[in-house]
C-alpha cells in the first residue's frame, strides 16, 4: 500500500514525539540517578535524541506539516512510554531504555523503511537510516558500561518482558488524522 505525503508526515511527526519524550525522560532521570557513569551516558544520549528529533522535525516541514511538528502516538503506545518513564532503579532504567524501548523503536523505523518508496521518500529514509545507526551506537555504549560496572545489570532477567510485552502488542503507533488535518 502506498503512502501519501500526509501519511508520511504523520509517521515522521509521531517518531519526533517519541524522540522528544525519550529525551525528556532521560533528562529527568539524570539528577535522580546516583551513579556518575550513568549520568554521563544519559547526558551524552540526551544530545543524540535531541538531534534525531530535530532532523525529524525538519523533515516533517518538508512533508508540508509545521516545522518541528510532533504527533502524539496512539494511546496504547503512550501508555507504554509512560510506564517506561516511571521506571525506578538504575538497572531497570538502563535495560528499559537500551534493551526494550530503543530496539522496539528501531523495529518501527525499519518497518517504515520497508513501507515507504525509497526514491520518492529518499530524504526521510536518509534521516531514519542515520538514526538507526546512532541507536546501535547508543546501545553498544550501554553494553560497554554494563560490562565495566556489572552492578548496573539487572538481577531479575525477566523484568524487560514486563515492558517489552505491551510494547510489541501495539501494532501501529501512528494516530492518523483526517485528510489535511495537520497542515
Amino acid at each position: 500500500m502506498s503512502l501519501s505525503v500526509q501519511q508520511r508526515a504523520e509517521f515522521v511527526a509521531t517518531f519526533r514525539f517519541i524522540q522528544v519524550f525519550l529525551m525528556e525522560t532521560i533528562a529527568r532521570w539524570v539528577p535522580q540517578t546516583p551513579e556518575m557513569e550513568v549520568k554521563v551516558l544519559f547526558g551524552r544520549h540526551i544530545w543524540e535524541l535531541a538531534q534525531q528529533a530535530d532532523s525529524l522535525g525538519k523533515r516533517v516541514y518538508e512533508l508540508r506539516a509545521p516545522l518541528q511538528f510532533s504527533l502524539r502516538p496512539v494511546e496504547s503506545y503512550v501508555q507504554v512510554l509512560e510506564e517506561f518513564a516511571r521506571t525506578e532503579t538504575t538497572p531497570q532504567k538502563i535495560s528499559g531504555f537500551y534493551d526494550v524501548i530503543l530496539p522496539g523503536l528501531a523495529a518501527r523505523y525499519r518497518n517504515y523503511l520497508e513501507r515507504t518508496d525509497h526514491l520518492l521518500d529518499e530524504p526521510t529514509t536518509r534521516v531514519v537510516e542515520k538514526i538507526l545507526n546512532e541507536f546501535q551506537k547508543m546501545i553498544k555504549e550501554s553494553e560497554t558500561l554494563r560490562k565495566e560496572l556489572p552492578q548496573l545489570c539487572l538481577a531479575d532477567k525477566n523484568w524487560p518482558a514486563h515492558l517489552a510485552k505491551p510494547e510489541v502488542s501495539v501494532p501501529t503507533i501512528v494516530a492518523h488524522r483526517p485528510s489535511a488535518a495537520i497542515a
Partner: protein, 251 residues
C-alpha cells in the same frame, strides 16, 4: 558571612543523587581547600571541577525536563550542553585519575544544582547557570590556562582551552535567550535581576568570605565578548572583579 552561619533554606532545593563513593558537603569551608603551593592543590581541583561539571549536566537536564514548552532552539542548546558537560566530567576524571586521584577521595559541593534547579523559570535558571556561574568560569579558566602554561603543563592547557571553547558556547546561547526574552517583554529584566540577587546571596552562604576571598582572577574581556555580552557588561564585570580583589586583598 562566617562559615557557621545558617543557610536560608528557601534559596536551596534538594541535592542531586550521588553514589556511595562521594561525600557531599554544604559549605566551601568544609572542603579540602589546600593552599596554592600544596602538592595536592591541583589534583583536588580536578575532582571538585569534575563534580561541578556533573552539576552542569544535571542543571541542563533538569531544565530540559521541566520546560517542555520552551522554544525548540533553546532546548537544542540545553541538550547539547548536557553532552558537553558530560564530556567535561570525563575530561576531568581522566586527568584526575591519571595523576593518581581516586574518585570520592575529596568532599564535593552540589550548591550549583541546589541553587539553580530551585529557581522556578527557565530565564532565571539560564541567567544564573550560564550567564553568571559559567561566565565566571570563563574568567577562571583563562587565569588557569596562564598558570598551567607557566608550569609547562601542556596536557592541562589543552584541556582548559577546549573546555573554555565549550563554555563560551553555553554562555552565548543563554545571552541570546536572555536578550530575546527581554526584547519581547522588558519586565523580564526584573526577573533577571531578582534571580541574580537570590543566587549571589545563596552563593555567599556556601562560599563564605574565605571562599570568595580565594578568587584571584579578573574578567576575561575577550572571552565574555565572544560569549555575547555587551561592551558595557564586560566593562562592569571587570570593574567588579577589580573591586572584589582589592577589597579582599586588603583584609
Amino acid at each position: 558571612m562566617s562559615a557557621t552561619q545558617n543557610f536560608d533554606a528557601a534559596l536551596f532545593g534538594d541535592g542531586p543523587a550521588r553514589d556511595e563513593r562521594f561525600t557531599e558537603k554544604r559549605r566551601w569551608a568544609e572542603c579540602a581547600n589546600f593552599p596554592n603551593d600544596h602538592p595536592l592543590k591541583h589534583i583536588e581541583f580536578f575532582h571538585r571541577q569534575m563534580n561541578e561539571e556533573m552539576n552542569g549536566v544535571e542543571n541542563a537536564a533538569q531544565s530540559l525536563a521541566d520546560f517542555p514548552d520552551a522554544d525548540w532552539n533553546v532546548r537544542m542548546s540545553m541538550a547539547r550542553q548536557c553532552a558537553d558537560e558530560a564530556r567535561h566530567v570525563e575530561m576531568f576524571r581522566r586527568i584526575f585519575e591519571s595523576r593518581g586521584g581516586q574518585l570520592g577521595e575529596y568532599p564535593i559541593l552540589n550548591f550549583q544544582y541546589r541553587i539553580i534547579a530551585n529557581l522556578g523559570d527557565l530565564l532565571s535558571r539560564l541567567v544564573v547557570q550560564n550567564r553568571s556561574f559559567e561566565a565566571g568560569g570563563i574568567d577562571a579558566v583563562t587565569y588557569a590556562i596562564d598558570e598551567a602554561r607557566k608550569r609547562g603543563d601542556q596536557e592541562l592547557v589543552d584541556l582548559f582551552e577546549m573546555q573554555q571553547a565549550d563554555e563560551i558556547t553555553h554562555v552565548r546561547f543563554a545571552n541570546e535567550f536572555v536578550y530575546q526574552t527581554i526584547r519581547k517583554d522588558p519586565r523580564a529584566a526584573l526577573q533577571v535581576a531578582r534571580a541574580l540577587t537570590l543566587a549571589s546571596t545563596a552563593f555567599m552562604q556556601v562560599m563564605g568570605s574565605e571562599g570568595v576571598g580565594s578568587v584571584e582572577y579578573l574578567a576575561d574581556e575577550r572571552g565574555r565578548l565572544e560569549a555575547g555580552f555587551g561592551l558595557e557588561e564586560v566593562k562592569a564585570a571587570t570593574t567588579q572583579a577589580m573591586k572584589r580583589r582589592a577589597s579582599y586583598g586588603s583584609h
